[in-house]
Amino acid sequence: MARVVVDVMLKPEILDPQGKAVHGALPRLGFEGVSGVRQGKRFELELEGELTSARLAEVHAIAEKLLSNPVIEDFAVHVEEHEGSPA
């Protein structure tokens, strides 16, 4: 078993109204000094069996084809170590 995480973020040049709304709420709550907020998505994929480079390439394909829209979003893939797994 392996957990692979895909983070999807709007490209920097794409307006993020949700991030802006969150940012706007911060001073009202008394939090100062935050100069910007961008909101994204995190996907956690639980994979069966060994995590091979071929499987990882498949996750990249999933991220590109379904999880993100390359017109407006970038994605990043990383493998997450399971809690309690041997170091």
């Binding site: 794409i14 307006l15 949700q18 379904l66 999880l67 829209n69 017109v71 407006i72």
Partner: protein, 222 residues
């Protein structure tokens, strides 16, 4: 002339779209998202709504539904396809049209009667309009802000592929006030406002939207 109207789980405006086809003089054919064939229709409308609950991204799941495989293939051979609102989002996710639709810049759902200019009346869906006709139809969206990179926008403008542009106000932050675009061939049109809600005087702001449906019937006869 048979015009298919696809119903996805979460579609809202499929019934109005079918009614608009009838009012225009065509025969509407209900299509289901799980269908593997288009039942011999001469054109397809992807209606507005919140297909698959807008999960992931608007239109992202619908794009992979069985019926869309058929629609994409048929669009490639010239079948007229009109995507309205959520349908426009599905067409962009399917890569039948360039760009994407993101959340309105002002963060609120917008619902209003919207003036548009029909800037390309050479598509399968706009030939009934005069050049640069100004029309009023319903607009209602939460994620209707059209975006694309500068090169794509320049190409759309240069090739006359901006089908409709917002007049008076830009209701959602769409780049260059773009309300609708077409593909190179002019058979696929995506439109954020809702012409199917403006086909009868009893409801909506008038009958300015009817032209989209009479256009396609005329193009099929011609």
């Amino acid at each position: 002339m048979k015009v298919g109207v696809v119903t996805f789980p979460g579609s809202l405006d499929d019934v109005d779209a079918r009614r608009a086809v009838t009012v225009a003089g065509g025969e509407p054919v209900p299509l289901w998202h799980g269908d593997h064939d288009l039942r011999g229709v001469d054109a397809v409308v992807l209606p507005g709504g919140f297909s698959y609950g807008d999960y992931l991204r608007c239109g992202a799941i619908s794009r992979f539904s069985p019926v869309m495989t058929e629609v994409v293939a048929a669009a490639g051979t010239g079948l007229p396809v009109l995507g309205i609102c959520n349908g426009f989002q599905i067409l962009c996710e399917s890569h039948l049209l360039p760009g994407a639709l993101i959340r309105n810049d002002h963060q609120k759902f917008v619902c209003r009667d919207q003036r548009l200019r029909i800037e390309n009346n050479r598509t399968a869906w706009t030939s009934a309009y005069d050049a640069d006709a100004e029309v009023t139809v319903v607009l209602k969206n939460g994620e209707g802000s059209y975006v694309a990179d500068e090169d794509t926008l320049d190409r759309l403008e240069g090739e006359g592929r901006v089908v409709a542009r917002y007049l008076d106000v830009n209701p959602n932050g769409s780049l260059r006030d773009i309300a609708g675009i077409t593909n190179e061939r002019g058979n696929v049109v995506g439109l954020m406002p809702h012409p199917e809600h403006a086909v009868e005087d009893l409801t909506g702001p008038g009958t300015d939207g009817l032209g989209f449906f009479t256009s396609v019937l005329r193009s099929l006869v011609g």
